[in-house]
Each structure stands twice: as structure tokens, then as C-alpha cells.
């Protein structure tokens, strides 16, 4: 217990780690606030610079960027009606009408406080649930991991409002990209096309920067003429009475955020939309009608999306399955630092878990400080013209991809994936499942082969084993239900029910 506390407080007592957490949170808020710069993009680019660092230093920076970035998206949603991140889409629905009334300062202040509350709920859930879940996760058989990974990829396609079929394609593509190189079991060449350089595989950091960074910049080129509207930002800190009034809703929607965030593949964006929907249905007398500046319309999504951060860490730490695209990137970083997220990580290195929890709590405290200060400077940065901003992001992407192996080939891969990702996005494909597929591909391959070997290579026995334990049956049912929920038949049935 004392040892856990010691690791929990490590980032609080070490000045350098304290500085890195603060810097990460600060950078996350500002990067997350700039429309077009997603948290995933920020984490992907910045993570590539931390590979030579000690793992603790990298983890503190990442914790800050993640929490700050999810929150930062709300700033531009309120001030400019342009969500800085998908998780802030719901925030703009009532935040911008408030800003138009000259109440942007109050809206940002309230958003900051409820985001911090949501963040604490999420981290508390992580601290309580993860140790228990990791022991339970030891009961998972290879077939369960295989199904969980498939379910995670399907959920991203299904819940993010996109087409499930496109999500499946993107996930399968990611899996195939992860197969490039030598087979870890037999050392056979897979998709190397006879090139020795390909045997090491494709750097998933370069792919991530390409899909999330370069592709996003190329998409943003279509919106160069979007002009920022200046807003009044005064009266920031909300009164205690206002916070107390919204506390029950904030707690309820934080719980939604934790649960949705903990689902493999679902993240803060889905949590925020579900929380907004919950607020609309459950709050009978909002401060103003929803969509016209209801404070409840800010409280619900902002509590939920920050609570989803702690939730997303739960499957990442206990099962090695990403909770969302950002945790997929973080898993990649942990692998590069020689760690293997999953139940054994929690059992063999519990100190690392408590260190992450401590860093997240610290980052959440910095979120409160940075969230309530520097709003005027913030408004200026968010208004940076895109003709200046976009080329700078591309330079950062190039440096990030190069830094992985000090190899220009990774930069070319990044560019190729960036252009391909642009066309995928233009035709309605999600790039999140590609990254999930890349991260989960090796686990899926290994789990499939282990499950098949345990079934003695007999397809009928392999299929039967999916129903052999209650756990496998439950995961299989969830997987099938996800597919079924995307069919026209299901939608017709729901519509007529």
C-alpha cells in the first residue's frame, strides 16, 4: 500500500516529472483547441519524440496531453463554433449560443470545472476497477482476446456514426499493415515483396502520423477560408451555487463517460453525444432550451468526455485492448518502451499503474489551473490563420516520423499513408479502425493461432469453443449484436418497435 502511494506521488514530488505533466496538459489544451488538430494527432506526433526518454517521463507527458486535449476541444467549440476535437461536437451545440450572448467566459469556466469533475470520476473508476479487472482478465482465453479485438474494431465503425462495412474494411487493412515483415512464430516473410528493408515491418508511428496528421491537414485545405469570430471572454470562474446545481448531472454523465470510454473502441466523442442525449431526456427545466445555450448542454458532454479518459485506460491497462484511438497510440508507445499492456503488466509492474493514476490526477489538477487562466491569449492562438498553421503542422509531422528511427523511409511511409488517408476520409472511411487494426493485428494473429492449435486444427471444434465458456459466449453475443445493430432489418425493427 505504501509502495503504491509512493509511485502515485512520484510525478508530484519529482520537479522534472511535475514540469512534464504541466507542459503536456498545457500543450494538450492548446493543441486540442485548434480545429483540425486532434488529440490523437497531438499524441501521435509528440509520442515519437519520447522514445529515447525514460518511460515515466513519456507517460507523464502523454497523460497531460490526453486529458488536456480532450478538454481543449471545447474551447474552440464555444468560442468559434468549431469543435477542436470530435469529443467537443456536442459542446458547441449550447456553448456557441452562450458565447453569442457574451457569456463565453462563464461557459468556459463551467466547462473547465465539470471537465475536472469528470476527469476525477474517470480516474477513480480506473483506480478501483483496473486492479480487479486485471485478475479477472487472466481467465481470458486466446479466443476471447481474438473476439475482443474484433469487437473493438467493429465498435469504432459502428458507434462513430460511420458505415460498419467501411469500419471492417479499414480494420482489416490495419491488420494487414501490421503483418508486414517476418512472422514472429515461423520467421516466414509476409508482404515484404523481396525487400530486406521491409522485414522489420512498417513503423506504426509513421502510419499514425500519416493517417491522423498529414491526412487531416490535407482535409483542412478545403476549409482555408473559415474565419474566426471574436468573442468576449470575461467572468471565467463559475460560482459555487452554479457548480452545486449541476453536480448531480455532472456525476451521472461522468458515469456514462466511464462506461462508454471503457468499451473497446469507443471514446470520448461517443460518450459526449450519449451524455448530451441523456441530459436532453432527463433535465426537465434547463436554464435555457437545449440548443439555445442550456448550461446542462455543456455540463453533460464535458463531464462525460473527460471521464472517458480514465475509462479508456481500463481496457488498455488490463487487457491490452485500446479504449479508443488515443489509447491505441499509447499502447504503441508502451510497446516501444519495452512494456506489454495487459493483465501481466498490472500484476508484474503494479507500480507503473499507480504511477499512471498519479500522473492523471496531477494532470487533472493542472487542467483546472490552465483551464481557468490565459483565456485571452488562448483566443488569439485559436485564431491563427490556417495558411500559417497547416504548413507548420506538416513540418512537425515530418520531424515526428523521422524521429522514430532517424530514417527518411519512415517519412515516405507517413506521406503515403497521409495521402491514402485523405482519400479514405473524403469517401467517408474512418481512419481510427486502421490504427486499431495495426495495434491489435499481432495480438489477433497470435490469439487466432493459439485458439486453433488448442482446437487441434479442427474448424468445427474451433467454432464450438466459442460457446464453451460463459465469458466467450457473452463476448460473442456482444460482437454479433454489434453487427446486427447495423443491419437495415434491425433499424426497421427499432423504428417500428
Amino acid at each position: 500500500m505504501m509502495q503504491a502511494l509512493e509511485f502515485f506521488l512520484m510525478s508530484w514530488t519529482d520537479p522534472y516529472l511535475l514540469f512534464l505533466t504541466a507542459a503536456g496538459t498545457f500543450a494538450g489544451i492548446y493543441i486540442g483547441a485548434i480545429p483540425g488538430l486532434s488529440v490523437t494527432m497531438a499524441v501521435s506526433i509528440l509520442i515519437s519524440f519520447t522514445f529515447k526518454w525514460h518511460v515515466n517521463e513519456a507517460l507523464t507527458l502523454i497523460s497531460g496531453i490526453f486529458l488536456g486535449g480532450v478538454y481543449g476541444g471545447s474551447r474552440s467549440a464555444i468560442l468559434l463554433n468549431i469543435p477542436g476535437a470530435p469529443a467537443a461536437i456536442a459542446t458547441g451545440l449550447d456553448g456557441y449560443p452562450l458565447a453569442k450572448r457574451g457569456e463565453a467566459g462563464m461557459a468556459i469556466g463551467l466547462t473547465t470545472v465539470v471537465s475536472v469533475i469528470g476527469g476525477f470520476v474517470g480516474i477513480a473508476a480506473l483506480a478501483v476497477a483496473a486492479p480487479a479487472l486485471s485478475e479477472f482478465a487472466l481467465k481470458f482465453a486466446p479466443r476471447d482476446y481474438l473476439m475482443l479485438a474484433i469487437w473493438g474494431i467493429l465498435l469504432v465503425g459502428a458507434l462513430s456514426g460511420g458505415s460498419l462495412v467501411k469500419g471492417i474494411f479499414a480494420g482489416a487493412l490495419g491488420v494487414l499493415i501490421s503483418m508486414v515483415g517476418l512472422d514472429p512464430m515461423t520467421a516466414e516473410h509476409r508482404f515484404t515483396f523481396g525487400h530486406v528493408q521491409m522485414t522489420a515491418g512498417i513503423s506504426y508511428v509513421a502510419a499514425m502520423i500519416g493517417f491522423f496528421g498529414v491526412a487531416e491537414v490535407l482535409v483542412q485545405l478545403h476549409e482555408l477560408k473559415t474565419r474566426a469570430v471574436r468573442q468576449d471572454v470575461s467572468r471565467i470562474v463559475p460560482s459555487w451555487a452554479r457548480v452545486r446545481k449541476h453536480l448531480p448531472l455532472s456525476m451521472r454523465t461522468s458515469a456514462i463517460g466511464v462506461v462508454v470510454g471503457a468499451l473497446p473502441g469507443a471514446g470520448g466523442d461517443i460518450a459526449a453525444l450519449m451524455a448530451y442525449d441523456h441530459a436532453k431526456r432527463s433535465v426537465k427545466n434547463p436554464t435555457r432550451p437545449f440548443g439555445q445555450g442550456a448550461e446542462e448542454g455543456l455540463v453533460a458532454p464535458e463531464s462525460a468526455n473527460n471521464a472517458a479518459v480514465g475509462g479508456a485506460y481500463i481496457p488498455m491497462m488490463t487487457l491490452g485492448i485500446p479504449g479508443d484511438a488515443v489509447t491505441a497510440v499509447i499502447i504503441g508507445a508502451l510497446y516501444i518502451h519495452g512494456l506489454k499492456p495487459g493483465p501481466m503488466l498490472m500484476i508484474e509492474t503494479p507500480h507503473l499503474f499507480w504511477f499512471i493514476v498519479g500522473s492523471l490526477v496531477l494532470a487533472n489538477c493542472f487542467l483546472l489551473i490552465f483551464g481557468l487562466t490565459g483565456i485571452k491569449l488562448f483566443a488569439k492562438i485559436v485564431e491563427t490563420p490556417k495558411p500559417i498553421l497547416l504548413p507548420l503542422i506538416l513540418v512537425l509531422c515530418a520531424v515526428g516520423a523521422y524521429a522514430v528511427n532517424n530514417n527518411p523511409v519512415d517519412v515516405y511511409w507517413m506521406l503515403g499513408f497521409g495521402i491514402f488517408g485523405y482519400f479514405l476520409k473524403m469517401y467517408g472511411f474512418q481512419v481510427g479502425p486502421v490504427i486499431l487494426g495495426m495495434i491489435l493485428g499481432p495480438l489477433m494473429d497470435k490469439s487466432y493461432r493459439q485458439a486453433m492449435i488448442s482446437a487441434e486444427g479442427k474448424p468445427a471444434q474451433f467454432a464450438a469453443e466459442f460457446l464453451s465458456s460463459p465469458l466467450s459466449a457473452v463476448i460473442l453475443a456482444a460482437l454479433l449484436l454489434t453487427i446486427l445493430s447495423q443491419t437495415a432489418w434491425w433499424r426497421r425493427w427499432r423504428g417500428t418497435a
Binding site: 474494411f169 512464430m185 490535407l218 500559417i388 513540418v395 512537425l396 527518411p408 506521406l415 473524403m426
Partner: protein, 174 residues
């Protein structure tokens, strides 16, 4: 942002029209998937259900099936306009400013190992800012120089990233 399919007039049964270039893109995805399936088969064929090529075959077969679904869906939706596909594609997907920027990025990536990080990035930033509509040269030069100095300083010293020096410059001073 995506190329939104234009809704067709005429009641509930109306299908949205396909955006320009979608059918070609889906057909290319199908061809890519078939190629990858063939490559996956080439790894170890059907020698065993646990062979190195079995899971790649399953993944690429999934890609083939889903890509075939896209092609079918795209064909059923019909084109948004009967003529001027190419013009619509250029206008909506690859407008001149996009093509110019994409070309600038490609040149930048190629120049990076030759001119080095500072030289290539400075030229790229100046060219791109001008291309995207920032006409104030002094501001562009100032922002480019200041940001590169910050990036170089931070990444070279704090992050210990060895940025490319540039083969041409190194040969020049050899």
C-alpha cells in the same frame, strides 16, 4: 469533412448519388484487396490452418468482400451528374490548391534528406504559406524562421532527435 453524396429528390426511397471519383476509388480498393489476398495466399497457401499466411488471408478476404460491397453500393447509387465527372472530381476532391500543396509536401519529403531539416523546412514553409494565401512575405519569413528555430532547439536538445543535416550540404563542405 468528406465528399457528401448529393441527395436525390423524390420521396423516401430516393438514394443519395455517389460523389465524384467514388466508384473508381472503390474499384481501386477492390483491386488492392485482391492483390493482397493473392500475396497472402503466396505466404504459405492452405498448408495448415495455423500457418503464417492463414490470418493474413482471412484479413485480406474480409477486405475483398467489403470492397466488393462498396463497388456494388456505389454502382447502385448512380453518378451525381451525367457529365463533367472529371471536373467535379477536381473541384471537390483535388482542387488546384490541394494539388499544389500535396506536390509541395512531396517535394519537401524528398528534399529533407538532401537539403537537411532547416533548409528544406524553411523553403517548404515559405512556399506553402504563400501558396495557401498568406501574402505577407515578412510575416512568413519571420514565422518560418522563429518556428524552425524553436522546433530545432526543442527537438535537438530536449527530445534528443538528430535531425537530418542534408547530404548536399555535407558534400559541399567536405
Amino acid at each position: 469533412m468528406s465528399v457528401e453524396p448529393a441527395a436525390q429528390e423524390g420521396g423516401e426511397t430516393a438514394r443519395p448519388k455517389r460523389p465524384p471519383g467514388e466508384l473508381t476509388f472503390c474499384a481501386l480498393l477492390l483491386l488492392l484487396s485482391l492483390f493482397l489476398l493473392w500475396q497472402a495466399y503466396g505466404i504459405s497457401g492452405f498448408e495448415s490452418l495455423t500457418s503464417a499466411g492463414m490470418f493474413p488471408m482471412l484479413a485480406s478476404a474480409t477486405m475483398v468482400v467489403t470492397a466488393a460491397v462498396f463497388v456494388r453500393q456505389s454502382l447502385r447509387r448512380g453518378p451525381a451528374q451525367s457529365d463533367g465527372h472529371w471536373q467535379a472530381f477536381v473541384a471537390q476532391v483535388t482542387p488546384p490548391i490541394w494539388l499544389g500543396s500535396a506536390l509541395a509536401v512531396c517535394l519537401y519529403m524528398l528534399a529533407l534528406p538532401r537539403l537537411g531539416f532547416l533548409g528544406a523546412s524553411f523553403l517548404f514553409l515559405l512556399l506553402s504559406m504563400r501558396l495557401l494565401g498568406s501574402h505577407r512575405w515578412l510575416l512568413n519569413v519571420g514565422v518560418s524562421a522563429a518556428s524552425l528555430a524553436a522546433i530545432y532547439g526543442v527537438f535537438q536538445t530536449i527530445f534528443s532527435v538528430v535531425l537530418p543535416k542534408g547530404s548536399w550540404l555535407q558534400n559541399l563542405f567536405r
